[in-house]
Each structure stands twice: as C-alpha cells, then as structure tokens.
C-alpha cells in the first residue's frame, strides 16, 4: 500500500513540470470541448489526439490522451444539462435529472454536481486502478492460451450483450470485428488472408483509422442527416459545487464509484452502461425515488460519478491484459503500442512505475476538469452555441488527417471512409459500435491463442473447458448467451426468487 503511494508520489513529481502541467490542462480543455459538443465522442477525441501527439515522448503523449479521455467524459455533462442532448453517450443518463434541474433555473448547481461527481468518481476509480492493477496483473500471469482465448470471446460476448439494446446484433457486430482483425497477414506464418491481392491489406486493418471512421465520420454523417436544432441556453446560477450535496449523498458517490469502476473493468462495456447502472442502483436505494427524472441531485450525482469512475476502471484491463474496458480505452491501448509501451500481464514485472504514471495522469486530468468546471462555464456555453454546420466539416478534415498521419498512407484514409459509411449504416439499424471495435482489438489475441491452444493439446478441446480460469470464463460466456433465451431467463429468475425466499425465511418479521 505504502509502496504504491510512494510510486504514485514519484510519478506525480515527474509530471509536475511546466510542460506536462500545460499539456494536461490543454488536453483536459480539448477533451471537455469535444465531450460537450454533441456528435463528438470521447473515442473520436482520443483517436484524433493520438495522431496529434505521435511525435511526442510516450509519457507526454499518453498524458494528453488520458486528460482528453477524462475531460471528454466530463464535458458531455454540459450539453446534457444545458441542452438536454448528451455530449457523449456516457452522459445520456445525466440528461434526465441534469436538464430537469436546468429547467428549474438550477443549471449552475447541476453543473457543480456534475463537476464534483466526475472528480470524485475519477478519484475512486484511480484508487482501484492503483490497488487492483498489481493484483490483476499477478492473476493474469496465470493465463495461458486457453484462458486468453476465452477472455477474447468473453469480451466480445459481454460487450455485445450490454452495449446495445439487441444482444444478437451486438454479437454480430463483435464477430464482424473479430473477422476484420483476421484480414491481412496472420501472426504465425505471415500468410495473407482475405487480402485479394491488395498489397495494402497485407498489413491488416489498422485500428485508429477504423475507429476514426466508425466514431468520427459516421458521427458526422449521423449529425448532418437531420436538420440541427438551435441551441437555446437560459441563464444559470452559481456553478461552485456545494459541499452539502457531497456530504448528503456520500453513499451514492461511493456506490456509483464502485459500480462505475467495476463496469469499467468488464471488457468493452464502457461509460454509458456505467452511468445507467449507477443511476439505476441509486434510484433503487434512494429515499427520494419520486424525484428521479424530475431534477434529482442524487440521480445526477450517481450518473456523473459512475461514468467518470469507469474511465480508470476501463484502463485496468488495458494495463493488465491488454484488453480495453471501453471504446476510448481501445484507442488508448493502440496509442500505448504505437509509443512502444507493452501493456499486458508482464507490466507489473517490467514497468511497475508506468501503472502509477497512469494514475498520476488521471489525477492531473481531474485537476484540469475541476479548474475548468469552476471557471470556463461561460466559454463552454458559447462553444455549445456554435452551429454544428460549422463544426462537422472541420471534424471531417481532422478525421482525414487522423487516419493518414499514423502511417502516412492514403489507404488508411480509405479505410476510415469505408468504416464511416459502414458504421453509419449499422448504427441506423441498431448495431452497436463498441463490440465491433473490441472485436478488432481482440481478434489477434483470439486467433493466436486458439491455434496455440489446439497445438498444445494436440487438437484436444478438454483444456479449454476444464482448467479453472478457462472454465469460469466459458461459464460466463455460456451464461451470458443462455440468459438471453426467454425460457432460460424466466427459469433463472424463478430459481433466483426461490433461493432468495429460502434466505429471507429465517429473518424475523419487521
């Protein structure tokens, strides 16, 4: 524990230089603006910033990316509160009570609650990032080919199950992602797969151009499809967070922080699910249930704490397993690899300091959002009123730059365009993008480990099911799929009710 604190102090000390602090503040601001503008997501922001920072030192580049990520997730609350439009999907839950408070003339108080919830949520997540990463890293060392195979399948299945409103479509998107990852030279014998003689395809589909397309260009098309609404913002009260709100709802903050971090750890699920889950849990436990949806301080606090706690949570599997906990974390993983950082089970053995560097980066990001949350309210309000007709063409130009700059080849621009059009069409038909992205990230892991496992067992499938961790992961995959079959789901609910009744029977009546 104290070793961790010392390492964190050392990391923080390293970042307390004018350049790093300047980068952190600038990136938090850029993230906030990206998050606040409807149509621009955290994933796209982090992907574009990856391009911009490609020539910087790894630590400074990653500092900028993490500050952008944290800033964007927080920034989404601004448009949710002021315009009733979530700036990012993560802020959708904040619309319910945030905008209701704004309609009551309490937009300033709502923004204060969002600021305090986001900062505290990130701090709770940071605490668990520092605490769990070494433990999970040690556990991950026990993973072999069989476990990594199931981990990849589990990531795609759980992400498909939770990120959309139709699990079957989520799974299809995830498996399409896994297939996309199989295009190009495979990792064992460098044999071309599905390249059709196109030389550029031999290197495979790069993640950043695919992400910029699916989250950037697709978003530009989605926004431009409909006539934009004019942003009307009324005057608001003080944005300084009230300590009474924090003390009154401390249980909600801790609960939402834990839920957010926990959901962050689950591969590919992300901030929007964290926010909705925290909101639902707060509503269930609240003494003021009737206020939810009508301007509940507790509801807004839960949603904002949950989504920001998810950010450090999503980084935990990135560092320990090289598996992203959310779509922006997938970009972060790609950026780490571009900058020569190798996340995975050996991270605590090879570079333990790096884990605490990430925690320190998160801390600096929270300082950034705290500063801007209190000071730049009016500037952000003005930015929110910029017509989307002006913003979207600039974003598209940045998408072209972002996809080109990583490898300086036009092929990546075409990949971005293809993913943008496909992503737009899939979204129109309710196919979630997060499982697709996770599939692309996990495809290589699944491919290599399935084949490696089959060679090790000489074609025997038993080790895939009988090794303890393999069995747990397989059971989770099977359970997730089976629970989507209505008859199995009803039977499971009935069994759960019976078990719960058995335990409650012994309790005295109140």
């Amino acid at each position: 524990m104290f070793d961790g604190l010392a390492l964190f102090g050392h990391s923080l000390g390293n970042f307390l230089t004018p350049t790093s602090v300047g980068y952190a503040l600038l990136a938090s601001l850029v993230g906030m603006v990206i998050g606040a503008l409807p149509g621009l997501t955290a994933t796209m922001g982090v992907a574009l910033m990856t391009t911009l920072t490609i020539t910087l030192q790894p630590n400074q580049a990653l500092l900028i990316l993490i500050c952008t990520y944290v800033g964007a997730i927080y920034g989404g609350s601004r448009s949710a509160i002021l315009l009733n439009i979530p700036g990012t999907p993560a802020s959708a839950a904040s619309c319910l009570d945030g905008h209701a408070l704004a309609r009551q003339g309490l937009a300033g108080r709502a923004m204060g609650i969002a600021t305090s919830g986001s900062v505290l949520g990130t701090w709770i997540g940071m605490f668990f990032l520092a605490l769990f990463t070494p433990i999970l890293g040690e556990m991950a060392l026990k993973f072999g080919a069989y476990e990594f195979f199931w981990l990849a399948v589990f990531g795609v299945v759980i992400s498909g199950n939770l990120t959309g409103n139709d699990p079957l479509k989520g799974w299809i998107a995830g498996f399409i992602g896994l297939f996309i990852a199989a295009i190009g030279q495979e990792g064992m014998y460098a044999h071309d797969r599905f390249t059709f003689g196109i030389h550029d395809l031999s290197g495979g589909i790069a993640l950043i151009p695919a992400l910029v397309g699916a989250f950037g260009f697709a978003e530009v098309l989605t926004v431009m499809k409909d006539r934009p609404r004019k942003a009307i913002i009324n005057s608001f009260d003080s944005v300084i967070p009230r300590l009474s709100d924090i003390f009154q709802y401390w249980r909600t903050i801790i609960r939402s922080g834990l839920i957010g971090t926990g959901i962050g750890i689950v591969p590919g699920v992300g901030e929007d699910v964290a926010a909705w889950s925290s909101y639902a849990a707060a509503r269930r436990a609240s003494k003021e249930k009737e206020k939810f949806g009508k301007g509940s301080v507790e509801g807004l606090m839960a949603a904002e704490t949950g989504d920001n706690a998810c950010v450090p949570g999503a980084v935990i599997p990135v560092l320990t397993l090289a598996v992203p906990g959310s779509a922006p974390a997938a970009v972060l993983l790609a950026a780490m690899m571009i900058h020569g950082v190798q996340p995975g089970p050996l991270i605590m053995v090879q570079s333990p300091q790096f884990v605490y560097d990430v925690v320190a980066m998160m801390f600096l990001a929270t300082i950034g959002i705290l500063v801007y949350g209190l000071t730049l309210t009016h500037l952000l309000t003005k930015i929110l009123q910029v017509p989307q007709t002006l913003v979207m063409p600039v974003i598209f130009v940045l998408c072209v730059v972002g996809s080109f700059a990583i490898a300086s080849r036009m092929f990546d621009v075409y990949v971005m365009l293809a993913f943008g059009i496909i992503g737009f069409m899939l979204r129109q038909f309710n196919y979630p993008m997060a499982p697709l992205v996770l599939g692309i990230v996990l495809g290589d892991l699944l491919d290599k480990n399935l084949r490696r496992g089959l060679v090790l067992s000489d074609g025997d499938l038993t080790p895939f099911f009988v090794r303890p961790i393999s069995f747990i992961l397989f059971a989770l995959v099977a359970g997730t799929i089976l629970l989507n079959i209505p008859s199995v789901h009803h039977a499971a609910v009935r069994a759960w009710v019976r078990v719960a009744a058995l335990f409650s029977r012994g309790k005295p009546a109140v």
């Binding site: 999907p89 959708a92 299809i172 199989a182 044999h191 797969r193 409909d226 600039v394 365009l417």
Partner: protein
C-alpha cells in the same frame, strides 16, 4: 445509443446479408492454403479461425432471419423509399466528404487549400436555405470562405508546424 427499432424486414435483409457473408468467409477459409508443404499442423492452418468465425456468424445470421420472420418480416416486406427530397442532407454530406477525401486530397492541391475549400463549400451548402431566406447569400458566402481559410490554416499550423505531423 439509438433506441428506434428497425423494421423486421430490415432485420431480415440484414440477416440474409450476414448469412451470405458468413458462407463466403467459410468458403474462403476452407479453400485457403493449409501450408501443408511447410508441415504446418492442421490446427494452426491460417483458415481455422476465420472459418470458425464464419460458422458463428452464420448461426447468428440464421437466428436473426428466423427472429425477423417470427416478427412478421415477410408479411410487411417493403423496401424503404429513398428520395432525394428526404435524404438530400445525408447524400450531400456524403458526396462532399468523399469528394474531399478521395478527389481533392492527393490531387496536388496543398492540403490546407483543399481543406479550406471543402469547409467553405460544406458550410455554404448547408446554410444556403437559411442565408437565402435572410437575403444574405453573398455575405454568407464570404463568411464561409473566410471560415474555411481560417480552419485550413489552423489545421495546417497545429499539425504540421506545431506538432510536426505529416499531412496528406
């Protein structure tokens, strides 16, 4: 997250598309070189994983087709109407974006100039109705051009000069 539900017929068509894709993947994987001349184990043949993925995708596609048929896809089979009038915004945005990325970029025009022209045209086209109604077409055009130039120059400066990133 989009909460609007697509029609069962749309799901049916998508299911068919996924099924065709899955079958194509399986055929491609089966016919892929198994590298036997390199004495590669059958389990590590390059087509194993894509083949299994194709199989999984085929099962899901069949489930989607069956589900959409149960939801009445075949009773309400109707293709959506695609009209220029109702889809002009998306079609225009798509055409402008593709013209910029495929034609203008790499045509020899400096990137900042191509970006400036694209942004100016995009802004002017999508504000055309509003500007025409206000009788400010000329002023709007000049402002769009100025905004395009400013944005193109800013992108060039930040990426190429400040962060030393190569532009197309």
């Amino acid at each position: 997250m989009d909460t609007e539900k697509p029609s069962p017929f749309a799901d049916f068509l998508f299911g068919l598309f996924w099924l065709v894709l899955a079958v194509a993947i399986m055929i491609g994987s089966w016919t892929m070189d198994r590298l036997e001349h390199l004495k590669v184990s059958l389990y590590t043949a390059p087509g194993v994983v894509p083949g299994l993925l194709g199989l999984a995708l085929a099962i899901m596609a069949v489930l989607m087709i069956l589900r959409s048929i149960r939801a009445g896809a075949l009773q309400n089979a109707r293709l959506p109407e695609l009209g220029l009038q109702s889809h002009w915004r998306i079609l225009t945005a798509l055409a402008l974006c593709l013209s910029f990325a495929v034609v203008a970029v790499g045509s020899g025009l400096p990137f900042w100039a191509a970006a400036a022209a694209f942004i100016a045209v995009f802004v002017f086209v999508f504000r055309f109705e509003e500007l025409r109604d206000q009788g400010r077409l000329l002023r709007g055009g000049v402002l769009a051009a100025a905004f395009g130039l400013l944005s193109g120059a800013a992108i060039h400066y930040v990426f190429q000069e400040l962060f030393l990133v190569r532009l197309p």
